[in-house]
Amino acid sequence: MSPGWLLLGLLAVAFLGSNVARGRGVRGFGLPSGSEWILSGIAIGPQLLGLVHLRELSFLAPVLAAGLGWVAMTIGMRFGVCLRPGFEEEVRAPSGAFLLGAVLGLLTAVGLAGFVYAALGQYVVLAPRLRLGTAMWIGCSLSGSARQLVDWAKERHGARGAVTDRIEATIGGSEVVALAGTAPLSVLLFSPTMDVESVLLRAATPLILGLLLGLVALWLLRFEMRIAETWGILLGVQLLSAGLSLRAGSSVIAAGFLLGWLLGRDPLAGPELRLLTRPAEGMVLLPLLVVAGTSLQLSEVGYLGWLVIGVVCVRVVIKLGLARITCGHIVGTPSAATAFGLSLASSGEIACLVALEYTLSTPGQLGQFVLACALATSLLGELFGAVGLRRTLASSHELNISGTGNRHCTNHGSAETTGWQ
């Protein structure tokens, strides 16, 4: 397929994405985690139809890297904010559940990284730094859960209430490990030197870039109200932070996330920017998910395929275990622990995007292995995540009984009044 056709295909996906995806995920239509986009990517990629090859995707690598940074920035903007059905009402995420989510994410990352580090030693001979870095990257990328699942529950089942907010905050908190953790890990993996000063400086690069450029953007956006200029500033700071991060051998996702986080914290500009960037998120996110699917080449994973299965199983076990411990605090009904654990075991866009960043930077067996782990958890999570969450919320009586939910959304995410409203 020529780059022109590839670009046309991605634009078509973006077109569909902007129609069916609003806010954080695929709402109203399709599967809860949007796995159909990953599957369609796998279908057109070298695994099945072979319409797109990896060398053609490498032509679009700068566009993909910029897209990763953009999605990370929009996620950062909404970090710590719960959106009500219809996405017009914003509330602050409960801080306790949010912190608990971060701890759960960290524990999952450590557990998974430990497993992968030990298992990699059995399968392949790798430099200790690469082995550790890869193990930690997998732990990091798979540490969170599929947040779009909560959007789906709100949209499809009209979920609303304290438990819904707490679950959303817990899942949101667990994302921080994947989004910010890539900054030190990228240095561990991609930095040419290893002296302490250089490593610290490189690890801090996304932080410095994100915060400094975020401040610059905030100063400017306080005065600048014109639409075209606002977009110029937003796109400019995001691309500059992504470009400088890549130049410094650091993570474009971490820089984008920190930049978005800072912009989203501003009480004046934050809500406006969330509203402004919301429709563009699906446009960028869904083509990236398709590309993540297309980038998969199982033949390159080789014998590490067994390890992929191991990673998926270990992750489910860790999530179930953590859910059993925390279910009482978050859901309030300990009997729902298994269902809650299954909902936490889902995995979504962030895992795929973080894995895609690794694959773009490290093509070959390890890159494919990391991507395969992320895609496998996302696809499998689709089977039990939605069921788990529905049961959890049903046990807390936070689902809309009529079941009509809020499927009729306007173009900007405002819902027509239905069901419980």
Partner: protein
């Protein structure tokens, strides 16, 4: 807010923008100096990010000096580019050139969308005389200047007398080309509406079509003078005819398709424009049609055969606001500064001759075409700018006549650079003097999203 408080607030805003610009530039400098280039591909993102952010900020700053945004974009490109701060190198600038494809398609589409058949008919007399007189007077004057300056032009002094005449004729026709992109960018910034804005856009668009066609004929005609043993070939003219007819036909089809899309779906026009700009342009190049002519026709069809023109024009304007920053900044980064410093005295002479010839032609054509006084007075100001089209035509010369390629192109680049920087300033000044500019712009709390 009182006048003093407002001006203090504006001053504070400008100070913040200046400080932010310095911070961003220092940050970019620090990282690029500290880190060697590991992978050239990533530099593209850095370059676009810097050009977009710095261009937007500097544009606001130069607004206070009553300069057009375009000047700021070009300056940012020159400063950030391979000759001054070296934030990105020449290879990255070359990689950025596909942005031009998108920009040119938007420019042509917007140009077509602005051309209303009724106005075109009203201006027909004026357009006819302006095209004839401008092309003849400017072409002749600059061709004569070229012949006079041949001793100072190493690439031309070695040619035979016939070849010199041929090159002078090409130079003259190139001087008659204008910049639709610069005209549209200034109009988009100033939101000018009125007889001068309307005439300028209509004339620049029509003149480009005239120049592109005349250029193709001229190349066929002067070929035997520049290439030993070459003869006049009618076959080349038939290729040209096919290109024109094909481009117009395809443009009509695209226009009808766009009308149907806007009427039936009407959303996410930015994505459609991206597809048109990148993918359809590639297809047009493949079948050897002219994208400029095709998109101009598309815009014209949408404007005049439906009532969807305004919504499409709005989408184009919103998108071009961002695309223009990168387009003109890339043009600035593409400038070969060492060459400019070497050839500027000759280029200044050409600039002066072209400027005077344009003014004289404008007076003559204004009388013959019975133009309104405002057009007679200020119409010439929109004809000073030169940019992408002139450079594209010079590329053709380079390809067709390798004998004069390097020297000729260098001279074109330097002359265009001067016209590109000074032209928009003159045009913006004229629009302000004629009271056609507007302050109204879409703001965030009125329009939630551009998508």
């Amino acid at each position: 807010m009182t006048g003093t408080a407002a001006s203090r607030s504006t001053l504070r805003q400008r100070a913040i923008e200046l400080f932010a610009l310095i911070v961003c530039t220092c940050l970019a400098l620090a990282v690029t100096r500290a880190e060697p280039v590991a992978d050239e591909r990533w530099n593209v993102i850095l370059a676009i990010g810097f050009l977009l952010l710095a261009g937007t900020m500097l544009a606001n700053l130069v607004e206070s000096l009553l300069l057009p945004h375009l000047t700021a974009y070009i300056v940012v490109g020159v400063v950030g580019g391979p000759h001054v701060l070296k934030l990105f190198d020449q290879d990255t600038v070359e990689v950025l050139l596909p942005v031009n494809t998108l920009a040119i398609s938007l420019i042509a589409l917007a140009g077509g969308l602005e051309l209303e058949a009724k106005i075109l008919v009203n201006l027909l007399r004026s357009l006819f005389w302006s095209n004839v007189v401008q092309t003849l007077v400017v072409g002749l004057a600059t061709a004569i200047a070229f012949m006079a300056l041949v001793p100072y032009l190493p690439f031309a002094s070695q040619l035979s007398q016939r070849a010199r005449f041929a090159v002078a004729a090409i130079w003259g026709l190139l001087a008659s080309s204008r910049s639709p992109s610069a005209t549209l960018a200034v109009l988009a910034q100033t939101q000018a509406r009125g007889p001068l804005a309307r005439w300028s856009l209509t004339f620049v668009m029509s003149s480009d079509v005239v120049v592109v066609i005349a250029f193709a004929f001229l190349l066929v005609a002067v070929r035997p003078w520049l290439i030993e043993g070459d003869t006049l070939s009618i076959a080349r003219l038939s290729v040209l005819g096919r290109e024109i007819v094909g481009s117009v036909s395809l443009g009509i089809c695209l226009g009808l398709a766009l009308i149907a899309y806007v009427r039936l779906i009407g959303r996410h026009l930015q994505l459609v424009l991206l597809a048109l700009g990148f993918v359809v342009t590639d297809g047009l190049h493949y079948v050897q049609f002219d994208p400029l002519l095709a998109f101009l026709t598309t815009g014209f069809v949408v404007r005049n055969l439906s009532d969807q023109g305004q919504s499409l024009l709005q989408a184009v304007s919103r998108m071009s606001g961002i695309v223009f920053v990168v387009f003109f900044a890339t043009a600035g980064a593409h400038l070969d500064l060492p060459l400019v410093t070497k050839l500027w005295p000759i280029a200044i002479v050409f600039f002066g001759v072209r400027l005077i010839a344009t003014w004289v032609a404008s007076q003559v054509a204004g009388r013959a075409g019975r133009d309104a006084p405002i057009i007679r007075r200020f119409g010439w100001t929109s004809l000073v700018s030169q940019a992408g089209l002139t450079l594209a035509l010079s590329h053709t010369i380079e390809r067709e006549f390798p004998l004069i390629a390097v020297g000729f192109r260098s001279l074109v680049v330097v002359t265009v650079a001067i016209n590109e920087v000074l032209g928009p300033i003159v045009f913006k000044y004229a629009l302000e003097r004629s009271c056609e500019t507007s302050k109204h712009e879409a703001i965030r709390d009125k329009l939630p999203s551009v998508v």
